[in-house]
Symmetry: C2
Subunit: 191 residues, 2 copies
């Protein structure tokens, strides 16, 4: 269940608050919170995407601590979740890695807090995910979000989460909500 | 919508990893991520519950920075969310404050990662929340979760989020998912 879905957290190219294209720093809370969600909902993997060598090494150090180092004894549940974390230098590299693994082109879906012409609903994407022979890479932006070109170049863009006149969730909260809507126990609605 | 629902993040009494009862330190990411969720889903307020004076002051300092200080100019959307944050010394004090505000006893609901005899489903709680004349306080535990006494002493305990053989979400992710299930746009299922 859900193992044909991969998540990519993009640190470049994304916008900053002035809509300039930048590379953001890796956040430790992103690694842990999102890896735990990925494990909870049974994803195929969680890619931290950053072109910065210092950040690549930082992620590798954190993952090593929890998967093979002292952390794996201190808290084995973190080992389970952090085992899903991979590091990649670019969206294209992530794409290639998953496509090679599956021997099939990966379908790419972007997420955003605002509408996009390529928007598909949560129900539609749930349906697409039922095709277990096809891998999907779902991209989330850090900072002020994925750049337009990444959204335009994706196969799909997922509908935004609608708040009560407020659409400024943290990327960690957005990931949690979106994975639950796609893969969570739908029994909650059948009572 | 949702304004009769309040959220309390409990830093004492909660369990640590050895099941000893402790007071945890406040986490900056909890304040921001949960306040942004609270604003997104239109909650009545978000209480940081801690008996430690140093932690009370820390929360007040963070909230002041974003609501009245430089942060309110730097990022006005944080002002909107952080305005919902209150600090309280205990669950009982939180209870009293909301009950006084409403002139009516607040109903208390605990959350947990494991089942409890007082469990109610998400659908049942959504139904209860439709009674807009009654305030509800939903409690989340930090550390290794709310102590047994707090769960036993609540009016209800909400069903756990079921993962694929893994129930170790961060409290931030759990809050996001639970608020979405209770107050999120249910249209996602009608297509």
């Amino acid at each position: 269940m859900g193992s044909n879905l991969y998540l990519g957290l993009v640190h470049h190219p994304i916008y900053d608050r002035r809509r300039e294209i930048v590379a953001t720093a890796v956040t430790n809370f992103d690694i842990h919170d999102i890896a735990r969600c990925a494990r909870t909902f049974g994803l195929g993997g969680f890619y931290m995407i950053t072109p910065l060598e210092s950040q690549v090494q930082l992620v590798n150090r954190v993952v090593h601590h929890w998967v093979e180092g002292y952390g794996s004894i201190y808290n084995p549940t973190r080992k389970e979740s952090l085992s899903l974390v991979r590091v990649s230098r670019s969206i294209e590299e992530t794409d290639r890695e998953i496509s090679n693994l599956w021997g099939k082109k990966v379908r790419r879906i972007a997420t955003a807090a605002t509408p996009h012409p390529k928007n598909i609903s949560f129900a539609t994407f749930r349906k697409l995910l039922e095709d277990k022979e096809t891998p999907f890479l779902m991209l989330f932006g850090t900072g002020w979000g994925l750049v337009q070109k990444v959204k335009d170049g994706s196969d799909y863009v997922l509908d935004p989460i609608k708040g009560v006149g407020y659409n400024h969730l943290s990327v960690r909260s957005a990931v949690a909500i979106i994975l639950d809507r796609l893969l969570g126990d739908r029994m909650i609605d059948s009572e």
